[in-house]
């Protein structure tokens, strides 16, 4: 086992802020992209529904 304890794990041998800073930004970036992609798909579908309602009038 590489890590003696959880605090040892989070410390990353003194590089904690750099290592976790990297992984946090990667996770955040991917989550934001997924969210924006889902929103875009919802918007695209809503746009079609709106124009259908307009044409039904």
């Amino acid at each position: 086992m590489i890590w003696a304890s959880w605090s040892d794990f989070w410390a990353m041998g003194g590089y904690g802020q750099y290592v976790w800073g990297s992984y946090a930004v990667v996770a955040l970036g991917l989550m934001l992209e997924v969210r924006s992609a889902v929103q875009r798909q919802r918007r695209a579908i809503a746009l079609i529904h709106d124009q259908q309602e307009d044409s039904d009038l």
């Binding site: 590489i2 041998g13 590089y15 924006s36 695209a44 079609i48 259908q52």
Partner: protein, 246 residues
């Protein structure tokens, strides 16, 4: 079915591709999550401490895969742009556009994780060496592509202008890749620990390659997902698009 008989143009129609992409993105998304989980486990619990950089080297497991994807995605965009110019297929331009935000994201992540790695190891967040500078130019190319295509209202003209930028900008990719050989850079050459030649290096390499595969799967999933939105946005006045969204 042989290569020749496969009806490429049939599948290149947005209407036929929409449901195909809808079925395909999910398995790639699942694959990305599973691969990333295994890669993270290997990167943090199997791969040992590096003899030179201690635990700080573990940034490599996201930094290198993100950098690879930043280049691969730009080449993929150039490929679709080329197909678009050659066969005049509408889907090509949509695929180019669907890939661009993901490419920009990975380029940003490559630069960001690189800065967080550079600070403790080199003592600087940023240096103007050839590798870093050419990667920054790649980021500007992605931003330029996104700005250009969203500024042109007619989607076909936007595809043409953007496609040209994707093709011309692709020259930058080999410059990034070979920059560490062609110039004397602060950025190291090939992977830090592969050449150590012990069983330790093996597990490090695997963690990195698995994360790269996870990023590949993620890119395919998100591009297929996003191309569906682009198809709907452009085909919203057609009967099939209205049917498929009810």
């Amino acid at each position: 079915m042989s290569f020749k008989n496969f009806r490429w143009f049939h599948w290149a129609a947005p209407q036929t591709f929409y449901p195909v992409a809808g079925r395909l993105w999910r398995p790639f998304a699942v694959l990305a999550v599973v691969l990333a989980a295994v890669a993270l486990y290997m990167g943090f619990f199997v791969a040992p401490t590096d003899f030179q950089q201690g635990e700080g080297y573990r940034i490599i497991f996201v930094h290198v895969p993100a950098s690879w994807m930043s280049m691969v995605i730009y080449l993929a965009m150039a490929f679709w742009a080329f197909l678009g110019f050659t066969f005049n297929t509408r889907l090509s331009g949509m695929m180019t556009q669907a890939l661009a935000p993901t490419g920009a994201l990975f380029t940003f992540l490559s630069l960001w994780t690189g800065a967080l790695w550079g600070k403790p190891m080199w003592g600087a967040w940023w240096v103007w060496d050839a590798r870093l500078t050419s990667e920054l130019i790649l980021f500007f190319l992605y931003m330029g592509y996104i700005a250009l295509t969203s500024a042109i209202e007619d989607p076909r003209r936007a595809d043409k202008a953007g496609g040209l930028l994707a093709l011309v900008g692709a020259v930058n990719v080999p410059i990034i890749y070979f920059s560490v050989k062609w110039w004397n850079t602060l950025h190291q050459g090939a992977s830090v620990s592969v050449t150590k030649g012990s069983s330790m290096a093996q597990t490090m390499l695997w963690a990195m390659l698995l994360m790269a595969l996870a990023f590949w799967a993620y890119t395919i999933a998100i591009a297929l997902y996003r191309v569906r939105s682009i198809i709907l946005e452009r085909e919203r006045h057609t009967g099939w698009a209205q049917e498929v969204t009810t």
